[in-house]
């Protein structure tokens, strides 16, 4: 299999204890201590007020990390095709809809219904940015980041110049949390391009492998990696943060993993 390669032109990152890429870099390299704090999801300011009030956590998270990555890459969001990947749709809405449908009053709210779709963040992203380019929304359960990275790199190398990958996962409330223990939110966005942008952070090349996947030595970061499908990207991000060449194996499927070779640009 030929390697699939692309340059990382910008990174967006929000998670428990992680506010954005530039402030997270030091703690990913071990130069600053990880301080536990709930993920801060900003309001979806890019949306018109009526929509802004109605959107849930996945939309706020996806829009925020996507905007961070575009800003870092100095790219107009409307100019980028998008790949959205998540292990699930909006858990809060899922709970509310199932709760109502199990009761006597099944009149679910129309807004809640259309926001329940897996591709709601993609829809709101295009409304917020005016992007009319192709967008795909995928899911591969715990392998969702790997599936998204593959889809994005395939697009970069086979068809398109630059692609925005947005991987995100948000909490499930009880009683779903017991069967799907995602407790907070974690999102990563990468602007991936065929030719490096001015501030390119590194080059990544991915291939399929059967090698064992990496775990992170630092316990709090390993908790994040294992706790959120989108955070399966962390071994790769740690390598990019450290600006050193590295080969990391990311979780994807049971016997199939993704080996990602990173090389710094400068």
């Amino acid at each position: 299999m030929p390697g699939l390669a692309g340059y990382i032109d910008g990174i967006g990152l929000i998670g428990p204890g992680l506010r954005d890429w530039s402030s997270a870099k030091a703690l990913l390299t071990g130069d600053a201590p990880y301080v536990e704090q709930a993920a801060q999801l900003p309001a979806a300011d890019a949306l018109p007020p009526a929509e802004r009030r109605r959107v849930g956590r996945p939309v706020r998270l996806a829009l925020a990390v996507g905007a961070q990555a575009c800003l870092a890459a100095e790219r107009d969001p409307a100019s980028l095709p998008t790949v959205f990947t998540s292990s699930g749709a909006d858990g809060d809405i899922c709970h509310e809809v199932c709760r109502m449908l199990a009761g006597n009053d099944r009149q679910i709210s129309p807004t809640r219904f259309h926001n329940s779709v897996h591709n709601a963040p993609a829809g709101y992203w295009s409304i917020a940015t005016g992007a009319m380019l192709p967008s795909i929304s995928i899911c591969a359960f715990d392998g969702s980041f790997g599936a998204g990275l593959l889809e994005a790199l395939v697009q970069v190398s086979a068809t398109r110049d630059t692609v925005l990958l947005i991987a995100y996962d948000t909490r499930y409330p009880e009683p779903l949390r017991r069967v799907r223990p995602i407790v907070d939110a974690f999102g990563i966005a990468l602007v991936l391009s065929q030719t490096p942008g001015r501030g390119a952070l590194g080059r990544v090349e991915a291939e399929l492998t059967h090698d064992a996947f990496d775990v992170i030595a630092d316990p709090p970061l390993e908790l994040l990696r294992a706790g959120y499908p989108a955070a399966r990207a962390l071994p790769m991000l740690i390598a990019v943060a450290g600006s050193r060449p590295s080969r990391n194996v990311l979780e994807y499927f049971d016997h199939l993993r993704l080996a990602v070779t990173t090389a710094p640009c400068r």
Binding site: P2, L4, T85, S87, G88, A89, C94, V97, C98, L101, A102, R106, Q107, I108, S109, P110, F113, H114, N115, S116, V117, H118, N119, A120, A122, G123, Y124, S126, I127, T129, A131, M132, L133, P134, S135, I136, S137, I138, C139, A140, F141, G143, S144, A147, L150, E151, V154, Q155, A158, T159, E174, P175, L176, R178, V179, R180, L208, F253, H255, L256
Partner: protein, 403 residues
Amino acid sequence: MNPLHLSHFTATTCLGRGLAPNVAALRDERSGLARCCFETVDLDTFVGEVAGVDDVILPAALADFDCRNNRLAALGLVQDDFIDRVAAARAQHGPERIGVFIGTSTSGILQTELAYRRRDPLTAALPNDFFYATTQNSFSVTEFVRRTLQLSGPAATVSSACSSSAKVFGSAARMVEAGLIDAAVVGGVDSLCLSTLYGFTSLQLTSTRPCRPFDRDRDGLSIAEAAAFFLMERLPDEPAASAIVLLGVGESSDAHHMSSPHPEGLGAKLAMEQALATAALTPDAIDYVNLHGTGTRSNDLAEGRAMLGLFGNATRCSSTKGAVGHTLGAAGGVEAVFCALALRHGFMPGGVNTRELDPALPLAYLLHDEARAPSRVLSNSFGFGGTNCSLALGRADAPNVAT
């Protein structure tokens, strides 16, 4: 893009299991829609329910996957020798060189809806026999198909509402093109559940009659379920004349509204233009367009305007949703199968249930089947979030296709 061979396919809809009853019903201009008596649903609407889904028993090794959506997938996979054809491809290419990309909008959510009725009265806990990962999660159906077909290559569920199983063709084609895989199983599976029936009703988008796409008096859609699968491979050097070929994939976003299409059909038009561009075709090369045509006022108006803008009033078109209803995340796959059947059997399906065309949309809309053989067709699928996808399919013997 390089044309790809859709070497085998099958569909199971409310018209029947496998290709034979589906093509027979299309040629008889029959609808499979019936008054909704699904589960405990008390809505005045029609649905396209697949008979016998409840009777399907999954293999013991896949028991954790048991839910309506995977039962429907299992029923669909055993039709038309699909499993054997994939086994032959597996032997040829190897299990890791065949991808699986399935579209679904709601996956096994019905299982969760039912589990919520059985929450523990004291702790509110879900019952112990509820398995989230293998039923409700959107990836469940793709993993179920992988395990049933013993495939272990790259895989993903595409879940972009009602464009899901059209977009899987694009994802798989790109991976073949990139050399990551040699073949792919693509398709769509969506099954009846309370969420979509009550949800579309809350948006006032369901009709109280069988849906009548593009009719002057159309007043909504009919929810349905289906499973459709294709085996996609590289085009052989000398394909059979009647071989079905994926020629192009067009995708776009409306950037307009979550549940209403762009009023002028701008996104729809972009997707069709892109499908033509990737296939290196001009609009006059298309003989028939299978419309998204849900039967709602706004969808058909927007799509009709996009059609008029791109094709004028000459290109024949119809929606087959009057026959099978709106199968949501499976619609792209089902309608690609219908297009493949039209190409293989040499006819263009008429729009069942539609009586009087909307005078605002002067299209060459087929009210009845036409016994003219198309060479190249488009299939449209649009969804919530303003997601649009259009597929270009053709016969290998159409001029300039297999060269």
